[in-house]
Symmetry: C2
Subunit: 319 residues, 2 copies
């Protein structure tokens, strides 16, 4: 039910900081239950100022929230050995590498070197495979150790939960049933895993990039256990946006803008690009607009670190 | 986030009894705060078995939940005088007349005879006018006495709140922004007021009856304080249903069925007809299905009675 107070625009701008705050209190509560403080090791082996900034930011955030953090600055040729050593070091709960290192396919090999049991970023092949297959635990059939999801896609999912896009009336795992979501960006790091996660949770997802549109969906009535992907021949934003309840965009570069006039009246719009993918007039059309997500992503990193620490048998949380 | 347990169909069937239970506990808590027990007077002046059943049901429910109820069975020619008397009787908080009485326009005159300060059904001209105008209080600008809304439309709104169709992230009064809702039935008693209430709360509503489709909406960005209505020339269910998040149907008669194949995958479907307007296969398509609403409507009657009693200066709730 409703009141009579009207603000000039109906759109609610929701800042990542507000969402991060709610998630941080959960992380803090879970940290209290641990019998030791989880430790994250960061590896910086390039001169990329963005990577340096991310490293500094990780240091600040982890320490501010009561975690241990050690930054290793090293020559990139030594990185593989260092990671292998950390993989077996009992004191290390999580590993994060600041990319790009070689900025070639060799970076992927580095990613694969990080143990899946210490991979806070959720980029290990087994974790990625679990995500796409909608396998949510590492220790089936016991299902006590939750698989780790990649930080940015998971941050966006936590944002959608915060915005009440997940309907708690529906069964867990099907709470996006009935939602149509456009994801603009199909990178291997964010766009494609995000589309898969959303579809696995019940949404009908239109994944858009320069090559065209793909639909990710569990099919009519969610009869499939995991999503299928099909090419949407002849489709573009003109087809996706007017029918989408949620629009999530992460296109790099200042030039790209989501065409506001195609967005459905009252849609929820989320930008995960470091540039602004939405024009200011999105607020005249959207019901909710989230202009940036970075502060949520860093909380997810802490959340993943906690989960990794908790998955180690000697570290289990007190119930 | 999600799990791996799959039931054969994803659709959740939500029964009115479960929703009624939650609302009843609110009513019970509010009743505790009153300094006297509110009294409802019912007037039965016909031999309609459905009216008799409704009267019996009111008696049972009001008494079961701690309210006073008196049923007056009388000749219909005496009804107008009896209502006038109850209007000024200090002991009477609410009045309900079981229609049809004359089954002509004269029944409307009877409705207008009931004081708007005792009208539990919310059918008084001033209350109806407030509802359409999106005026939510009786005593502007103090805004302490809430206007009374008609029972069945309000029951459906409470059901939509229970099903998380109202987004609490959005401002009160705009929480259906972004929702498209088809209401099949445009009667003066339920369909039209319901369409108006939903549009006033921010939804884009398609109101459908045999004469065609009307759109009820507060316009792009909810810039209008109350809804406008426009005829949708050439539209039918073929146009409304595939784009509607919620489908609400209340067509009398066993023959009428909403065509399942037109309903959007994952829609929320609510039947308020005493017959079943949805085919059983709706469960293969909807995310949530509410097969009947009667048990919620009766709770709304109690809620309205409480509100009327509370609006009387001598009866105010202790804060």
């Amino acid at each position: 039910m409703a009141s009579t107070n009207s603000s000039p625009v109906a759109c609610k701008v929701v800042l990542a900081s507000a969402i991060a705050k709610a998630l941080l209190s959960e992380v803090a509560a879970d940290l209290q239950k641990m019998n030791r403080v989880p430790r994250l090791h960061g590896y910086l082996a390039n001169r990329d100022p963005a990577a340096r900034m991310y490293a500094d930011w990780t240091a600040k955030t982890t320490r501010e929230h009561g975690f241990h953090f050690t930054l290793h600055e090293l020559d990139r040729e030594d990185l593989e050995d260092e990671i292998r050593q950390a993989n077996t070091d009992e004191d290390v709960d999580g590993i994060i590498v600041y990319y790009p290192v070689f900025d070639t396919r060799r970076d992927q090999t580095l990613q694969w070197t990080v143990s899946m049991f210490k991979d806070v970023e959720g980029l290990s092949p087994q974790l990625i495979s679990n995500m796409y297959q909608n396998i949510r635990f590492l220790d089936s059939p016991h299902n006590t150790q939750k698989s780790i999801l990649p930080c940015t896609p998971l941050a966006i999912i936590k944002i959608l939960e915060h915005l009440h896009m997940y309907n708690p009336i529906l069964d867990y795992g099907k709470r996006l049933f009935g939602r149509r979501i456009t994801v603009i960006n199909r990178s291997e790091v964010v766009g494609r895993p995000l589309a898969a996660l959303l579809a696995n949770d019940g949404a009908e997802v239109y994944s858009v990039d320069v090559t065209g549109v793909q639909e990710f969906s569990r099919g009519s009535g969610l009869t499939k256990q995991k999503h299928d992907v099909r090419e949407m021949e002849g489709w573009g934003l003109e087809q996706c946006l007017p029918i989408s309840d949620v629009v999530i965009s992460g296109v790099p570069g200042e030039k790209y803008k989501v065409p506001t006039h195609l967005i459905r009246e009252g849609a929820v719009c989320i930008n995960f690009s470091s540039d602004k993918n939405f024009n200011p007039d999105v607020k005249e059309r959207a019901s909710i607009y989230v202009p940036a997500i970075g502060k949520v992503t860093i909380v997810i990193l802490l959340r993943n670190l906690l989960r990794l620490a908790n998955n180690r048998p000697t570290n289990a949380m007190t119930p």
